[in-house]
Symmetry: D2
């Protein structure tokens, strides 16, 4: 999960965000980028390789904060473009409800979803992506994996923060959990 | 709701379908075609004008039977192409779960959803459509309406079988019920 | 929407909450209390009469903030008990995903959901309630209404902040929108 | 999946059901019985031990056909009582939409969900059960398992028809997939 700072209304300086983190849970969006076939069936999930809040370089989904005054849909698109580049052509969902809500805590034992910096509540969406993805900013690489590959032990061990469970929850929602 | 007959495995002759209708509920898919903006937000719903099972010419959503051996996704695509033509470019949902399940009965009083011919259970989906729609077969016309227009009294009175409620349930699911 | 302050970890003094409100969106839960029959079908929705953030006395659903370190389920139960009393016996949902996400803004024009104090993102749930409800704290009264009554013009005009739409979205989700 | 026959309107004699099976997909309901804590969080799933359509004795969820003229809610309750006995006190869901739709085919390769007898489309629900369960009819035993136990290799190998995947999809929906 990343925070961009100071460049427009609603963005905070590092010390401000630190103070807020101690006061209220922050709202995030998580997006699982997927490739689908002509019938809408999920064929691949996209995993980023990137620097995580816990200091590891891990495979992870697209994730980022919802800013003050920003709509959920705008936050989703902004964070998708941040991590996948400007020509990924994500198809944002019509429905407003996330497929799951992820509760990240500094204490790993509460939900299994972990963020050492803060308590964050993240609305998670599965987002079909048609275009060309070019990982940008903190993301080093994007890999497309089949449902079988994405749930294999070696790949799961390359994820942190609980993202391996989030991937399997997304696959279950799409009816393709192996 | 329409039934195509006799042209391939899984399709039934008219007398066969009559017999089955008296024995088990039939499975249908209903699809609410929608236009969305770049953020995925619903801007318009598409209403067909067509001959209905109850003998009226009414505004209605895309609807049709799931055939023996046919997957839900294939039934959705086949029925969308039947009513919207071959270049409508529907984006089928990634998730397998419908936004609602409509139970049609010959007796209008049971659920408010009505089919004089049969008991049918229909899985209902909201389907964004990007392409050019050309109503075909039993459909005379397709009209794109804003959420406000689609829920106006005069438009609602042009729908039968409970489709005016189905439209409002789709708008609620998409967060744009006026 | 109400905020309780200063009584335990995660609760903030009034000036602190004011500062945070200008910095990040706050997370809320909205709960629509309902009565259901033996088959789980919604028969009545419960509307509170209470002082709202916009200064009106209006009919509204249960609503409240998610505190720092608090799980969504705990926030739901705490806010239900706050508004309905200790013996309401709410049945919290098994699933983690809300039926809709409500985005409240100080500017009414953005989503139609309005909170003059802040940008809030609220996870909305339909919660069956079996027990005896005794409105407490800021809530003056609880009234159980049928779906037809709850969507009547005169009742809708007694709601503010967009709660009349939220009620209809809940009824649509439960399959009983008139 | 079981069919009861001949005892009331809507039920079919064995030869009639055989004929229908060759003509149209049949509608079923699958119910995953669960125990929840005071916050609604899933703590255990209930697995039946019973004779399956494929001839095995396997662990499975509650499952059964929707009859002609029968509402989904009535079919759910009837099948829950058939497998769990009359005092299980299931809490049927308020929402009408299933958490997933399972497509069973005689050919195992199509979806991984398998019924050697027929093409069936099953609406799957997670159903909290408060009362005392007494497996009846074809069910030999009911075992309550934690999410960790229910997804262990040895337990998964005791399920057939794809029910091990259905259990994990239910756990994912409830946010407790290990």
């Amino acid at each position: 999960m990343n925070d961009r700072t100071q460049t427009r209304t609603g963005w905070l300086a590092p010390d401000e965000i630190e103070t807020v983190r101690g006061q209220v849970p922050l709202i995030y969006v998580d997006a699982v980028p997927v490739r689908v076939d002509a019938l809408g069936q999920l064929t691949h999930v996209g995993l980023l390789l990137r620097a995580m809040a816990d200091g590891t370089i891990s495979r992870a989904v697209v994730s980022g904060r919802v800013l003050q005054g920003e709509r959920i849909r705008d936050a989703l698109l902004r964070n998708l473009e941040k991590d996948l580049g400007p020509v990924a052509l994500p198809r944002l969902p019509v429905e407003v409800s996330p497929f799951t809500v992820v509760e990240y805590f500094p204490d790993e034992g509460i939900t299994g979803f972990h963020d050492p910096r803060q308590h964050a509540v993240s609305l998670a969406f599965v987002v079909p992506v048609d275009g060309d993805c070019r990982p940008a900013q903190d993301s080093l690489e994007l890999t497309w994996l089949t449902p079988v590959e994405a749930t294999r032990g070696d790949i799961r061990r390359e994820m942190s923060s609980g993202h391996d469970r989030l991937i399997r929850m997304a696959l279950a929602h799409a009816g393709v959990l192996p």
